[in-house]
């Protein structure tokens, strides 16, 4: 039942992805109630998730394209190999 801070913060990390089990969450709650440092960690972790969400939004809609020069170069190299 008793967790170390290492274990508690690991569960806290897992819960940022909503993948901590119910039992883990209960154990975490108990630990957070008793440990100020981990309590702080949990709060900061949440903020970190919000920050990372922003990166996700920034990157999500970005599609990456090869430019024409890169395409040509690739096609040329492949062509040489095909002819071999």
């Amino acid at each position: 039942m008793k967790l170390t801070c290492d274990e508690a913060s690991a569960i806290c990390d897992k819960s940022q992805y909503k993948e901590a089990s119910l039992w883990e969450k209960i154990k975490l709650k108990v630990h957070l109630f008793l440990c100020k440092k981990c309590g702080l960690y949990a709060k900061q972790n949440k903020i970190m998730s919000t920050c990372l969400k922003k990166i996700e939004e920034l990157e999500y809609h970005k599609t990456h394209h090869l430019n024409q020069e890169e395409i040509n170069c690739m096609a040329q190299e492949l062509k040489t190999k095909i002819e071999l």
Partner: protein, 189 residues
Amino acid sequence: MAVTDKQFLNPEKWVSLHADYLFNYTIGRLNDRDLAKDLVQDTFFSALKAKENFKGESSERTWLIAILKRKIVDYYRKINSTKGKAEVRMNFYADGEREGEWLEERAPTTGAEKLKKRLRMKNWPKFWKNASEIYLKNTKWFFRMKTIHQIETEDICKELDITTSNLWVIIHRARTQLRKCMEDNWFKN
């Protein structure tokens, strides 16, 4: 016999049909333009060599993706066995009476409200980019896949051939590491 369903390869058209798609797929996992380009090119070369193995049961693209996936896994394996191991700082006492407790100098100290206020001022995307390069090193790919690209745990583990507990250890290290440098950074500036 469903002869009409049989797929055929058309290497002359690979670049125009699939290069962009494969490139995007790779960037989603490795986020490095040059590297992604090389891996895509390499995929075409390998595919060409393995042309005879194509049974025509899947589409050309699916087949190419399968080859590309192997290239990506090989790449992860290579970087993880050689240089650039993540700079793993200890965050907790590793043994002794206080095993598993926060190391004094690595423990969170700043209240959340204070952090939130600083947050708006910081150039977060830039900070993230630097911090993930410096502190997460190779594990940044795992962290990215899970956190930024939100790929399912199961899929990451299958794709990169690691166990779930391995992945969670990586995530845990990455987050405790990032947290520390975020806190330091917010208050240094």
